[in-house]
């Protein structure tokens, strides 16, 4: 893992998938161990902090001041009683936040991966999130223009992979992974299962074609496979 992120530069933009499952936990922990700073991140939320060195993630990078900007559908807690990770930093001006409706976020990423610089969506029209954005009517309904997102890096969590870089995801761990893998220049993938030879995965079942993938690393024994959110315990790779 450390080798895969060793040359990660400062001030890079990074896509981080995950919606519960599907987070590249091991790559994030490896990034934590580098000195990379000045990150711009694109993710669903700003993430949790963890005392476990193997679970260090976006929340920890944010709190350590290594993130310059977050683009996310959750930049603060929805619960008034609980202050979110990023709020204080944004308030004191050391972190920039861009709050985006989740579907718009997903479509901006998909557009970045599809060479579409901008599109129109109905989401958020009539709310603060659309304030100041360009509006336009189509067939009598108002839409707002949103622009594509494309990053220097994407960290991806796959279930299976072959040596050609073809990726498969499992169940809800798919979420943002395929579209983020399509929307970054350098795509680094941690894989749960042993990497198989090219030709062993049915071409009809591939979720992400190998042409998008830069680096594949299998999660080593002891690496984190899942995190039990109830207990905070990591479930680890055993073989």
């Amino acid at each position: 893992m450390d080798e895969a992120v060793a040359s990660f530069p400062d001030n890079a933009s990074l896509m981080i998938p995950g919606f519960g499952p599907g987070q590249p936990t091991n790559l994030l922990a490896a990034l934590w161990r580098t000195n990379a700073t000045g990150l711009t991140t694109i993710s669903n939320g700003v993430g949790f902090e963890s005392a476990d060195p193997d679970q260090k993630g976006l929340g920890d990078l944010v709190m350590a001041g290594r993130v310059k900007k977050v683009i996310a559908a959750f930049t603060a807690s929805t619960r008034p009683s609980r202050t979110g990770t990023a709020e204080a930093l944004v308030a004191n001006g050391t972190l920039e936040a861009e709050l985006v409706p989740q579907g718009t976020l997903a479509e901006r990423i998909r557009s970045g991966g599809a060479g579409i610089p901008a599109f129109y969506t109905p989401a958020g029209v009539g709310t603060e999130t659309a304030t100041g954005k360009e509006h336009r009517d189509f067939n009598g309904r108002a839409f707002v223009m949103e622009t594509a997102l494309f990053a220097d890096y994407a960290f991806i969590r796959a279930h299976k992979a072959d040596t050609a870089g073809n990726l498969l995801f499992r169940r809800a761990a798919r979420n943002f992974n395929p579209i983020m893998a399509m929307a970054a220049k350098n795509v680094i993938v941690e894989v749960e299962q042993p990497i198989v030879e090219a030709g062993e995965i049915d071409p009809d079942q591939v979720h992400v074609p190998g042409i998008y993938v830069t680096t594949l690393v299998r999660i080593p024994v002891g690496g984190v496979l899942h995190i039990n959110r109830a207990t905070g315990m990591a479930i680890r790779q055993t073989a």
Binding site: G20, N175, I179
Partner: protein
């Protein structure tokens, strides 16, 4: 003799939402009380549950020992089961379903709702737009679903009404709410009005109106909830 006052539990509120689903609907359940709705749907309703994370056709919450860490609902943490015929798509395709208008109803939690069908559920202050908040998929859902059902406490902890003439918090959508299920009432939102349809055991229309910040038109069919 008046029945003893018995506010609805969260599960009862979820059960009322489940009663209001039509045959074969495609339904999205938001975080909180709505995700519990999956436990109260009956097989003959043939509901397809859709989640922002691309899980289409999930079922009830996973019981002890049934949990698969890779199968969760919109909460991103709550394990659910898959029904036969389930399918998985990526996040952009999950929202393609939503934006195309295929969601018959989205059930969401909320802080406030008004008779024009607007509601607020993503920000708890009126500070100027500062890019802080938790929108999640609520705005996409609220802009595109055929109907919005809300599940919410009838008042704040301090007893202030949440059903208001006009939302005072920033709205999630300027219209679209058709049904509000609270801990003491079931209120339809129609033609710019709140219609009081049902009450929790022991609550009268007058008592519900007293903690509501906008006029309630009492339905001719006003009745006790049946859950």
């Amino acid at each position: 003799m008046a029945e003893e006052k018995q506010p609805l539990t969260r599960d009862q509120m979820a059960a009322v939402l489940a009663q209001n689903m039509g045959y074969g609907w495609i339904v999205n359940l938001g975080i909180g009380i709505p995700t519990n709705v999956s436990n109260f749907l009956t097989p003959d309703q043939e509901i397809v549950l859709h989640s922002e994370n691309g899980v289409i056709g999930y079922g009830r919450l996973a019981g002890e020992g049934e949990e698969d860490p890779d199968i969760v609902n919109a909460s991103a943490t709550q394990p659910v089961t898959l029904n036969p015929g389930a399918s998985i798509v990526h996040h952009a395709d999950a929202f393609a379903v939503i934006r195309r208008g295929m969601i018959d109803v989205t059930c969401l939690g909320a802080y406030q709702v008004a008779p024009d069908g607007s509601f607020a559920n993503w920000k708890t202050t009126n500070e100027p737009w500062n890019n802080l908040g938790g929108i999640g998929g609520a705005m996409d859902l609220a802009s595109c679903a055929k109907q919005i059902y809300l599940a919410m406490e009838h008042t704040t902890r301090d007893g202030e009404p949440r059903l208001l003439e006009k939302c005072s918090l920033p709205v999630t959508a300027p219209s679209g709410v058709t049904l509000v299920v609270t801990n003491i009432a079931v209120v339809a939102v129609r033609n710019g009005k709140f219609i009081l349809e049902q009450h929790a055991p022991g609550y009268t229309a007058e008592e519900i109106q007293a903690v509501t910040g906008a006029p309630l038109e009492v339905s001719p069919d006003f009745r006790r909830v049946a859950v």
